[in-house]
Amino acid sequence: MKKAIFVFIIAGLVIAAMLLWYFSGGFNVNWQEISMLAGLVLVISFAVILGVRRIRSIRNNQPAEDEMSKGVVKQAASTTFYISLYSWLALMFFSDKSEMETSTQMGIGIMLMAVEFALAWVYFNFFGKINE
């Protein structure tokens, strides 16, 4: 339960920081900021969904995590690592062709990894994980 509450607190802080950033900048958005915002919304939604699932399990006197949920996370993480190798290579290739700042490229790379993990987790959580 403490871990789920911690996740909600972190998500709330990220949302607050995001809103502060947008309103302090006069809400001038371009495509880069919109894509970063979309990635942040996806990650926060993922964290909130996980927190809700944990609380629901605890309320039903079931463990917040069990062998299957831990296995899905491990499988998603390993798949994300494998895919991110190629996405980082692609990002490095395109960075030579564009005039993006290094910090922006790193932010995009990290956001890509978070999105890849969320998608991989959704895939294994819905289609199952056969232990091979």
């Binding site: 079931q62 299957m68 949920s69 289609f127 056969i130 232990n131 091979e132």
Partner: protein, 81 residues
């Protein structure tokens, strides 16, 4: 097909959990609580989307007062029971 060849071809396991759950009058929630897992794990087990660990298979079989082989069997279309 010889058993030793079948061993290498098995990719997923099938089971009688849904049938046994109905026989024992257990809901998915109740079975999940008894074996110490989440309800989603029982759902995935019944659909054949997840192969349980040895411990989980043993715990589930113990709830139904059966051996592991009577509850879980290879997904080759044949129920050995």
């Amino acid at each position: 097909m010889p058993g030793y060849i079948l061993t290498f071809l098995v990719r997923s396991m099938n089971n009688r959990i849904r049938e046994l759950r109905a026989r024992f009058g257990l809901t998915q929630d109740e079975l999940a609580t008894r074996v110490g897992v989440r309800r989603e794990t029982i759902v995935f087990l019944e659909k054949g989307k997840y192969n349980p660990s040895l411990k989980l298979a043993y715990d589930v079989a113990r709830i139904f007062e059966m051996s592991i082989e009577e509850v879980f069997f290879p997904d080759n279309g044949k129920n050995p029971v």
